[in-house]
Subunit: 218 residues, 2 copies
């Protein structure tokens, strides 16, 4: 698959892109400027000589991709999406955005009463399918391909078929994706990010995550 990562120079976006590129996907690192995206892509390419990685500005990255991943701070979400509105029409947009207010360990309720994922869906309209995922993973070990990530990914979206595509991306990145219901449920995954951050702070760790228990073995 041809995957564009908007905000792909950040730690989580580049970490996911790295794992997807290593798994054989074509990855386009999007950034506010083409130069920054290209620089990040070159640096990743050097580590993964057999992978196909390029860099571009966010709009060009989105235009070239089959699937678009949104990996920016919540504060940049609206502006980033406005800049790729036309380029993402007809595509699947996977958002990893989790709003963090102040203090960051306290769940931030957005003024809209919605999740950031639902706000993205409203902004982009019905021509785009938004799925929320990867809110609760810690970026620290993504670029160590041998590291066994001990966490599950909650996948929220309206259609099972789209969530299957994202579940495959979870597997390709070394994680288990779990259908967590409707896009409205993304408010839970987004809020969990703040809870896990608080757990990190209180325990002086960096990688708190979640596992869903009680499921039959795969």
């Amino acid at each position: 698959m041809k995957i564009a990562i908007l905000g792909g120079t950040g730690k989580e976006g580049s970490g996911l892109g790295f794992r997807w590129a290593a798994a054989g996907h074509e990855v386009i690192i999007g950034s506010r400027t083409a130069e920054k995206g290209e620089a990040a892509a070159e640096e990743m390419q050097a580590e993964l000589p057999h992978a196909t990685i390029s860099g571009a500005d966010n709009a060009a990255a989105a235009a070239a991709a089959d699937l678009v991943v949104l990996s920016v701070p919540y504060e940049a979400q609206e502006k980033t999406l406005a800049g790729v509105y036309d380029e993402v029409q007809g595509k699947l947009l996977v958002t990893v955005v989790a709003p963090l207010g102040q203090p960051k360990a306290r769940v931030w309720r957005l003024p809209s009463g919605l999740s950031a994922a639902e706000e993205a869906q409203q902004q982009l309209g019905e021509g785009v399918t938004v799925v929320a995922a990867f809110q609760n993973i810690s970026a620290g070990h993504l670029r160590d391909l041998d590291y066994n990530l001990d966490c599950d990914v909650l996948i929220c979206g309206e259609k099972a078929v789209d969530k299957e595509i994202v579940a495959a991306l979870c597997r390709d990145a070394g994680m288990r994706g779990i259908n967590a219901g409707a896009l409205a449920n993304a408010v839970v995954a987004e809020g969990l990010t703040a809870v896990l951050l608080g757990i990190n702070i209180r325990h002086k760790i960096t990688g708190a995550g979640i596992r869903i228990t009680g499921l039959p073995a795969e």
Copy 2:
């Protein structure tokens, strides 16, 4: 500790009470009528002959206890708390309530914009300390004392010292309690209940739960 369980005849409340009684706590099963509470207590007492279990109506149960557990459907929360308002003043109230709308697998945002736990705190006032916990455990195996519960408990509340008390109750019931931050964060634990219910439905299981990963071993 002397623990009253309001709505203690339900599956989760009676299951927690069973485990706490087995661990040596004095347990008072509260119900809308004293008769129902007494009947449930007698039935539990027969299984745990060395435990101290009694039944009462919710107000008498709350009056007699050091710590009060609220285990009723969300729809009954306001009325139940109104009936014990005086009896719980000065005490710790642990709420296990998780609002479930329709469909139950979809996160229900309360009209207040708050969590059920915060609504309880507002209703009871500053004289009562509300802590949210046990939202995400499955009740099915609580009364099997040999069953190893594979789940963690998120504990939300304002003061660490109160959350320590609840963490001890988690241990006494065979689970690990984790400080999940401020009472406002209860909205995540409550929402997770709907997510886990959806996972149960989709996988035809009954006991989906969560574990927090990345923590040092205890």
